[in-house]
Every structure is written in structure tokens, then in C-alpha cells.
């Protein structure tokens, strides 16, 4: 138990470091930007209507105060952190004066759900199929499956998502291609809503799964074909241990340990994929929010989305890392 606590402590330290460096980098990069957030905000607010100069001057003063841009950078930095720990990134421009954080929190559950479900499915399918393929190396079906995996795996998220959109939205329109849920349902714990959410998430999730499972499949297949030659597997086979036990608890279980590390490392990439997928399917998550924010030059919102993504991904990695000792008792002892 002590070993585990040390392990958790180390990881926690790392998590904090990642968040600190990531968010600081986010701050620095945005504050070195040539974009003056005040003028950008003014430009946006006055683009559609003719405002008189006095009103603009007043607004400029208010925004300058709000963004604190006339202060030296280190004081802005301290300010930034002190507001950040309260979850305050300032108002968004996209939805002025709604706080950027409100928008992020509204979008976050969609991304988290999509990402969690897609990752779990991907991880499960890839590893189970890969494990079986590594164990039964002569199975025709699994061999064919492997070829498909090699074929799809290297294609960028965008292309797969787009092909799905064309196939299921245009050629054979059976699934919804945009939005999070249909217009005629009430959000909440009711079946029409849930089924609508599932339907709308199908194509985005499918595109993530299609791109993702190949990597797990190939990795697991290679790992398993190594593990099956291990003595403890041979020995268990000689002892007549049940085949399902061997495949599950001896082969897959051991091969899963490095796969879990790989999962932690892959989460950042999966997040990138989610951004694309959301954009293609107009899904209301963090990704499309980020893209909107960039397109609108929304300073606060870009900062908020980036910081939250860094934190969220780092936290997800942390959680996966915490699972690691459960899978590998050797780590617990160290």
C-alpha cells in the first residue's frame, strides 16, 4: 500500500507539473500574440452596427480594464493564475458577456462523453480482437481483420469522418449528420433523448473508433504473440488450465499492461481526433468551440479551451496511470 501511495504521489506531482507548464505555455503563447484583444473585441462588437466614437471609447476603457492588458506581463500572469484557480477566464467575445468558462463547461460534457465512450469501445475492440489474433495466428477472419486495421489505421481522422459523412449522410442517409440531439426531444434522463444522443453520436464515435482500433489491434497482436511464448503461458497450457483462463488471465492480462501505458500516451492524440470529428459533424463539444473561438479571435475563450483541454487530458492520463498498478502488481511494490 505504501508503494502505491508513493506511486500516486509521484504521478500527482507530474499531473500538477503538466498542468502548470501547459497552462503557462498557453498563457505565454497567447500573450505574445500580436492580436490586441481589446481592439479585436471592439472590432467584433461594432462590425454589424454603426456605433458612435464615444460609445467605442467607453467600451475600450471597459475592455482594457477587463483584460488587464495595460499591466506588465508578469502581473498579468499572476492575475491570470489567481483568476484561473477560480475557473475565471473572463468573458467570451463569442457570447459576450457570458464567461468563457461557462461555454467551456457547457461543451465539456459532450467531448468527455464522446471521447470516453469512443476510447473505451476502441480500446476494447482493438485489444480483444488483437489479443485473439495474436493467440490464434492462423485464423483467416482475424487475419483479414488485421489487414483492414492496417489499411484504416494510418488514414487521418478527417478523411475517415468525411467519408462517413458522405456515406451515411448523402449516399445512404440513415444517420443524423449534425448536432448533439434531435429537435423534438427534451434533455434529461428519458429514452427519446438518450436514444437521440446515441444516434447523433454514432457517426462521430464511429469515425474515432475506425481510426483508433487499428493501433490497439496491431499493438495487442504483437504483444500477445510475444506473450504466448512466455513460460508461464506454456506452463499453464501444459497444466491443462482452462483455455479461456489462459487467454484472459494469462495472455491478454499480461499484454494489457503495456497497452495501458500506451492508452495514457494516446489520449492526447485521441483528443485531436475528437476536435476534427466534432467539426465535421457539427458536434457541440470542446473541439468545435475551440475552432469557433479561433475563428472569432476570441482571446479568453481560446485560453480557456486550451487550458481546460490540457488539464483534462493530463487528468485523464493521470486516471489511466492510477489504473496501471491494478493491472500490474509489480508497480505497486516499487
Amino acid at each position: 500500500m505504501h508503494g502505491y501511495l508513493v506511486f500516486v504521489g509521484k504521478r500527482l506531482l507530474q499531473l500538477l507539473a503538466v498542468i502548470f507548464f501547459g497552462v503557462s505555455a498557453t498563457f505565454l503563447v497567447t500573450h505574445l500574440s500580436p492580436i490586441n484583444p481589446v481592439e479585436a473585441a471592439l472590432g467584433r462588437m461594432t462590425a454589424r452596427s454603426v456605433s458612435n466614437p464615444e460609445a467605442i471609447t467607453a467600451m475600450r476603457a471597459a475592455l482594457t480594464e477587463l483584460y488587464g492588458v495595460n499591466e506588465p506581463i508578469w502581473s498579468q500572469y499572476i492575475n491570470f493564475w489567481s483568476r484561473l484557480v477560480q475557473g475565471d477566464f473572463g468573458p467570451s467575445l463569442l457570447a459576450f458577456p457570458t464567461p468563457a468558462m461557462t461555454l467551456v463547461m457547457r461543451a465539456l460534457p459532450w467531448t468527455v462523453t464522446l471521447l470516453t465512450v469512443a476510447t473505451l469501445i476502441t480500446f476494447a475492440i482493438g485489444n480483444v480482437m488483437g489479443g485473439l489474433a495474436g493467440y490464434n495466428q492462423n485464423n483467416r477472419f482475424l487475419k483479414a481483420f488485421g489487414l483492414v486495421a492496417i489499411g484504416i489505421q494510418p488514414i487521418p481522422y478527417y478523411v475517415v469522418a468525411f467519408i462517413l459523412l458522405i456515406l451515411f449522410g448523402f449516399v445512404w442517409p440513415i444517420l443524423p449528420i449534425s448536432g448533439g440531439f434531435a429537435m423534438n426531444v427534451t434533455p434529461g434522463w428519458n429514452w427519446p433523448y438518450i436514444s437521440s444522443v446515441i444516434q447523433h453520436a454514432t457517426l462521430p464515435a464511429l469515425s474515432l473508433v475506425l481510426v483508433g482500433f487499428g493501433g490497439w489491434f496491431l499493438g495487442m497482436r504483437a504483444l500477445v504473440s510475444n506473450v504466448v511464448t512466455e513460460d508461464y503461458v506454456t506452463y499453464a497450457e501444459l497444466a491443462g488450465v482452462k483455455r479461456t483462463t489462459i487467454v484472459g488471465s494469462y495472455v491478454m492480462r499480461n499484454a494489457l499492461v503495456p497497452q495501458l501505458t500506451a492508452l495514457a500516451m494516446a489520449l492526447g492524440g485521441v483528443f485531436s481526433g475528437t476536435v476534427i470529428t466534432e467539426q465535421v459533424f457539427n458536434y457541440p463539444g470542446l473541439g468545435s468551440l475551440l475552432i469557433d473561438a479561433v475563428n472569432a479571435g476570441d482571446y479568453s475563450l481560446v485560453l480557456a479551451v486550451s487550458s481546460v483541454s490540457v488539464t483534462a487530458v493530463a487528468t485523464a492520463i493521470f486516471i489511466v496511470d492510477l489504473l496501471y498498478p491494478i493491472l500490474d502488481p509489480r508497480v505497486r511494490a516499487e
Partner: protein, 346 residues
């Protein structure tokens, strides 16, 4: 040490087991086990010696009923005579083999470090291995295992441990425990002491010996280390190039080997007070895909004559329980003066 009157537990007759491989369209056949006939008795420790890639591992695989492609039994039988009935493991169905596994026929694998699943608690492994053959459940099973472990000087705590939490010796004892918990009639021990330090090695050997005696089981003990054989085996068989070349009571084999290869193996044993390197046998073991004509040992044999190059020597009985396959067995002299090896050979 002479328990000749005991009944036979295993009778291997004319066993041929080949690896059949296909490299880039070329069929190759490796004759790993080439016509071995041997008998093993109840309640004895039979040592098998031989260099690596001599075919002893393949032979063991057949005995352990672990025949997997590309290894195939081409001819012969390997009949066990278990309490539950006779079984020819060379030709038995998987179900028949399943029925005797671990309950009657068990196996101690080499490499104590890697035969235990690193992510599974020892107790779980015991369940996986022994629950089905024992037909016990819950507390009954647990007490059986705990009692058995006690016999091996292991506390019940190991059941909750992971392999990496145990020392090498403990792990080996666990492995022996795994193989013997079902009180099998026949135990195959494949290099169980390799990679252990000398003290632990000794401890493990006596443990195997004790357990064997206590349970009245038969043990096939495989190692290339002749000194180990000297310590535990009742009889020793030497395998060279897929064939049994000599077989006899341990004492005879060490003091009066009747095959040049045996003589060499015995001579290469290190002894206290050695000043120089033991003479090494020249040449390498033959390629089993294309073994030499006649006696397979002839290219390396100091006594080889023309006949040896042309005709295969049969396995002749030359004394009580002593058989050899050499045209010139009468000319074989021990290469060094061997004093009686220490050990429990009473």
C-alpha cells in the same frame, strides 16, 4: 536404490517424433526423437541427460503430452499405466489427456523466474492449475493447498503474494508445490534447478526427492548437469542426437560408462581441486535434419571405426538394467578416475 521389482509406469516403444517444417517451400524434417524405447518404473527417479538440441526437450514434450505442430509423433507409443487406466499420450485425444493431466501426470518447468504468471496471485494460480483435477472447492481446496505448502516449508501467506514478491527459492518451491499438489503418479521435472544458486539448488533437489518418496511418485528428471543426476537419479538415460545411447543405474553410469559419450559427460564434471580446464568434446552435435550415417556420435568419437560410420549400433543390454548403443562398448574406459559422488545414493 534398486527398486527393479516395481511395476512399470511408462513404456515408450519405438518413439519417433519429428519437426516438420516448411521453409520457403522446402520441406524439412528434423528428427528430434528418433526411435527411442525406454521404460520407467513406479517410485523411481529417472534422470535424462544430454546436450541442448539433443532431442531431450522434444522427448520430454511427448512424455508431457505437449505435442504441438510442427512437432509430430511419426511412429511408436508412449504408454502410461496410471491408476485410472492406461493411456498412450502419443496418440490420445485431447479429452483423454485432459483427464490425466496434473492429477496423474504433472510437470515442473525450467526457469522458476518465468513460469509463474507475474500478474496473478499464487493462490489464483493454484486454483487455475489444481482446482479442476482435484475436484475440490472453497475451504476444502484451500486447506489442501495450505497443507501441501506446509510440507514444502511455505507459509499460507504466499497464496496472497505475487510471484515477484517471493525469492527465487520460494518461487521454485511454489512451482514444485503446483506440480505436486494433486499427488500425481508421474512428474516430469525439466531442469528445475538451473539458474538457482548452489545452496537453493541443493534444497530444491532434496525437496523433490522427499516429495517423490513421500508420494511414491515417479519422476523424470531432465538436466544436462551430470552432478545433479548423481545426486537424485536412480537410473540415468543419455540422449544423443535424438537417440537413447546409454541407460543404466546411476552408479554404473558414473563408474563404468559403456558409451564414449557418457564417459565424456562424466569426465567433464568439475571436481574440487581442479587445476585445469576439463577437456571439451570437439565438434558440435549433429544437425538433426541431416544426421550422419551409422552411429550418430562417430564424427566426434575418439574410438570410431569404419563400422561405426556405416552401421547403426543397436541398444544392447550389457548388464542388469544397463543398456548401451555402441559397437565398441567394451573398449570404453572411464576418462578419469571417478570417486563415488557424494549424495544420498545409499
Amino acid at each position: 536404490m534398486t527398486q527393479n521389482n516395481n511395476a512399470e509406469i511408462l513404456k515408450v516403444e519405438g518413439l519417433k517424433a519429428y519437426y516438420q517444417m516448411n521453409y520457403f517451400g522446402v520441406e524439412r524434417e528434423v528428427r528430434a526423437v528418433d526411435d527411442i524405447t525406454v521404460t520407467m518404473r513406479k517410485n523411481e527417479v529417472y534422470g535424462i541427460a544430454g546436450e541442448s538440441s539433443s532431442g531431450k526437450t522434444s522427448f520430454i514434450k511427448v512424455l508431457a503430452a505437449a505435442i504441438r505442430p510442427p512437432l509430430r509423433v511419426v511412429a511408436g507409443t508412449a504408454k502410461y499405466n496410471f491408476a485410472s487406466g492406461p493411456i498412450d499420450v502419443a496418440h490420445a485425444t485431447p479429452e483423454e489427456i485432459e483427464a490425466v493431466r496434473w492429477k496423474h501426470l504433472s510437470y515442473i518447468m525450467q526457469g522458476s523466474m518465468s513460469v509463474l504468471n507475474p500478474v496473478r496471485r499464487i493462490g489464483k494460480t493454484f486454483q487455475d492449475f489444481a482446482q479442476r483435477p482435484l475436484g475440490l472447492k472453497g475451504a476444502e481446496f484451500e486447506s489442501r493447498v495450505v497443507n501441501h505448502l506446509a510440507r514444502l516449508n511455505l507459509s499460507p501467506d504466499v497464496l496472497r503474494a505475487y510471484p515477484h514478491e517471493l525469492s527465487g527459492g520460494m518461487r521454485q518451491r511454489v512451482t514444485i508445490g503446483l506440480a505436486t499438489v494433486c499427488h500425481p503418479e508421474f512428474i516430469i521435472a525439466d531442469e528445475p534447478t538451473t539458474a538457482l544458486d548452489v545452496v537453493v539448488q541443493k534444497e530444491v533437489l532434496s525437496l523433490i526427492r522427499d516429495i517423490q518418496k513421500e508420494m511414491g511418485a515417479s519422476v523424470v528428471f531432465v538436466t544436462h548437469d551430470m552432478s545433479v543426476h548423481a545426486n537424485v537419479a536412480d537410473r540415468v538415460g543419455i540422449i544423443y542426437a535424438g537417440r537413447l545411447v546409454e541407460e543404466g543405474p546411476t552408479r554404473d553410469m558414473f563408474f563404468a560408462p559403456k558409451h564414449p559419450y557418457t564417459a565424456h559427460l562424466v569426465a567433464s564434471l568439475p571436481r574440487i581441486g581442479d587445476r585445469q580446464q576439463r577437456p571439451a568434446l570437439e565438434g558440435r552435435p549433429p544437425n538433426l535434419a541431416d544426421p550422419p550415417q551409422g552411429c550418430r556420435f562417430h564424427p566426434r568419437c575418439p574410438l570410431a571405426v569404419d563400422k561405426c560410420r556405416k552401421e547403426v549400433p543397436p541398444l544392447e543390454t550389457i548388464g542388469p538394467d544397463h543398456r548401451t548403443a555402441c559397437w565398441r562398448w567394451k573398449d570404453v574406459e572411464p576418462l578419469v578416475n571417478v570417486s563415488a559422488p557424494s549424495g544420498e545414493m545409499a
